[in-house]
């Protein structure tokens, strides 16, 4: 069985996961990334997901996934329980993103965080010229319906990481799934960071 290719931002995250690692994917959705990591990298994965239908789909894939809320449930995990803790495209939906970041590097020896870059030029133009909250490909839901309540830019994220005393081991900036190394805070729609304490 050939695994289905991953969405570009997930591929960037998966790229940072070592072979055979013990992984927790927070906000794992229907388990696409975890299943891919299991099938291609021999990863032993666990997942945490808020939505019951997604959990059912993930468990139906044979994954160990729990229904729960990252804002409250991460405190239950022991220290250094995982090699890698993944938070892909979920940070911006957290009630307390900074506290969640602290939990990530406590539970995992490394954390991989990806998020939509609110500093992307399309977002800036939408606000600056249109005067409206942006609705873009990576942010497709209008402001009053989006679960995303804490947007940040790549520069904001780096500042927060520094403030929490986290080491940025690797960073990748993507635009439409391709690397956007130049002026990432302006030209990338997604940021991917590998963090440790």
């Amino acid at each position: 069985m050939t695994p289905v290719p991953l969405r570009a931002d997930l591929a960037a995250v998966a790229d940072a996961v070592p072979q055979g690692a013990h992984v927790l994917d927070i906000g794992c959705g229907d388990g696409q990334l975890l299943a891919w990591l299991r099938d291609t990298k021999g990863v032993e994965g666990r997942g945490l997901e808020l939505d019951a239908a997604n959990v059912a789909s993930a468990v139906a894939r044979g994954l160990a996934v729990m229904q729960g809320d990252a804002d409250t449930d991460l405190a239950d995990y022991p220290d250094a329980a995982f090699d890698v803790v993944i938070l892909s495209n979920t940070l911006q939906a957290m009630q307390r993103p900074a506290a969640v970041l602290d939990q990530l590097v406590r539970i995992g020896r490394r954390a991989i965080v990806s998020f939509p870059n609110f500093g992307h030029w399309r977002v800036r133009i939408s606000l600056a010229l249109g005067g409206r909250m942006p609705v873009t490909r990576s942010l497709p839901v209008s402001w009053h319906e989006t679960p995303n309540i804490h947007f940040c830019t790549i520069a904001d994220f780096e500042a927060l990481a520094a403030e929490r005393g986290l080491t940025i081991e690797r960073r990748a900036a993507l635009h439409s799934g391709k690397p956007a190394p130049l002026w990432p805070n302006l030209l990338a729609d997604t940021g991917v960071f590998v963090l440790s304490r």
Binding site: A52, A60, R61, G62, A64, M66, Q67, D76
Partner: protein, 367 residues
């Protein structure tokens, strides 16, 4: 044909069977059914553990009521537990009244029914009896043990007491201990039975049981298996075969009539003393108790993968109880899946049509 396998089996295993309370049963009889075939490597056995008032007739017609098996939505051809692939075992619990050793059994030491001389049993004792049955059947390791409600308590106990014998555990709508509220409802049921003059200290004749007390016990318990939402939807304040209230104490309301019917039909198939003993076993259940109340420590040596399912409207074993188990399993480093499924049907949801539950169990078993 191997007489150990098939429908409506019964085996008496000679020799002392020691119980948690310190008492010893001189022999152990277990009534059970098996479905499907045990494969050559013995890797396809699934044990189904039943709830308080259910029995071994999980996927075949009940001999007394004629009704189909109680979990044919989960077990059967094309279902998540298909006997085409799995060797399925379901046994009447120790203390039960459908053929396994219980208070209705004859004590071989004096030829009289045990009645209230039957020792108080525990969930652990039930599991130990099932383990003896598996030895008899030549099943070393279970691919899975699956149970809802009290069956879930047994499934969890299996993982704790026989870690090497259980690959996967499915525990549905259950808890790792009985709460004060759980105990309270059971006590109402027991007192209803014991207040019935026909109970006679448990020494009633088989044809003169304390049916009124047992029916009231069932009525009270049955309310806990449903939800307020479900009752409102099904009955509301609708009247039973009348246009106005009678200003009397007939079953004016449909819900009263329904509960009375539940009580009456229950006494046709269940023994009052068994009800006392099994409810007591559930009340004594607390997996964390031998570990100073630390549930994670109780799970410290488990080797199974776990799948827990709860239902939104179950207030008997609410989601919080499942979460407590999940949290402890997590702390113990066990592989655990958990999902709370939407249902208006209360605790009974796991016995009803639950396609999401089936999807989850199928995936969990085949992974």
């Amino acid at each position: 044909m191997d007489q150990r396998f098939g429908l409506d089996r019964r085996i008496t295993l000679p020799g002392d069977f020691a119980l948690a309370c310190g008492a010893v049963l001189p022999e152990l009889t277990i009534a059970y059914e098996t479905y499907g075939k045990l494969n050559a490597n013995g890797t396809n056995a699934i044990l189904i553990c039943h709830a308080l008032t259910l029995d071994q007739y999980v996927a075949s017609a009940h001999p007394r009521t004629g009704k189909p098996g109680w979990w044919t939505r989960l077990i059967g051809p094309g279902k998540p537990v298909d006997p085409e692939h799995w060797f399925v075992i379901c046994a009447n619990v120790l203390g039960g009244c459908m053929g396994s050793t219980g208070p209705t059994s004859i004590d071989p030491r004096d030829g009289q029914p045990f009645a209230m001389r039957f020792p108080v049993i525990t969930i652990s004792d039930m599991v130990a009896a099932q383990a003896r049955l598996l030895d008899h059947l030549g099943v070393d390791t279970l691919a899975a043990v699956i149970g809802g409600s009290m069956g879930g308590m047994q499934a969890l106990t299996w993982a704790v007491h026989h870690p090497a014998r259980v690959k996967k555990v499915v525990a549905i709508a259950t808890a790792a201990r009985h709460s004060a509220q759980n105990i309270a409802f059971h006590e109402v049921g027991r007192q209803a039975i014991m207040a019935d003059p026909k109970w006679q200290g448990g020494q009633y004749a088989p044809d003169a049981p304390p049916a009124d007390g047992l029916a009231v016990a069932r009525m009270a318990a049955h309310i806990t298996y449903l939800s307020e939402e479900g009752l409102t939807e099904k009955f509301g304040r609708r009247l039973q075969n009348r246009d106005a209230v009678s200003f009397g104490f007939d079953a004016d309301f449909q819900v009263e009539s329904y509960l009375r019917h539940q009580g009456l039909s229950f006494v046709e198939r269940f023994d009052a003393n068994s009800y006392l003993y099994i409810t007591r076993a559930m009340d004594y259940f607390d997996l964390a108790e031998p570990h100073g109340g630390n549930l994670a420590r109780a799970f410290a040596g488990v080797q199974s993968r776990f799948c827990l399912v709860s239902f939104t409207s179950d207030w008997l074993y609410p989601t919080a109880e499942s979460r407590r188990i999940v949290k402890a399993l997590n702390a113990a480093g066990a592989a655990v899946s958990f999902v709370e499924l939407e249902s208006p049907f209360g605790h009974d949801a796991f016995l009803l049509d639950a396609p999401e539950m089936n999807r989850v169990i199928t995936g969990f078993l085949t992974a």
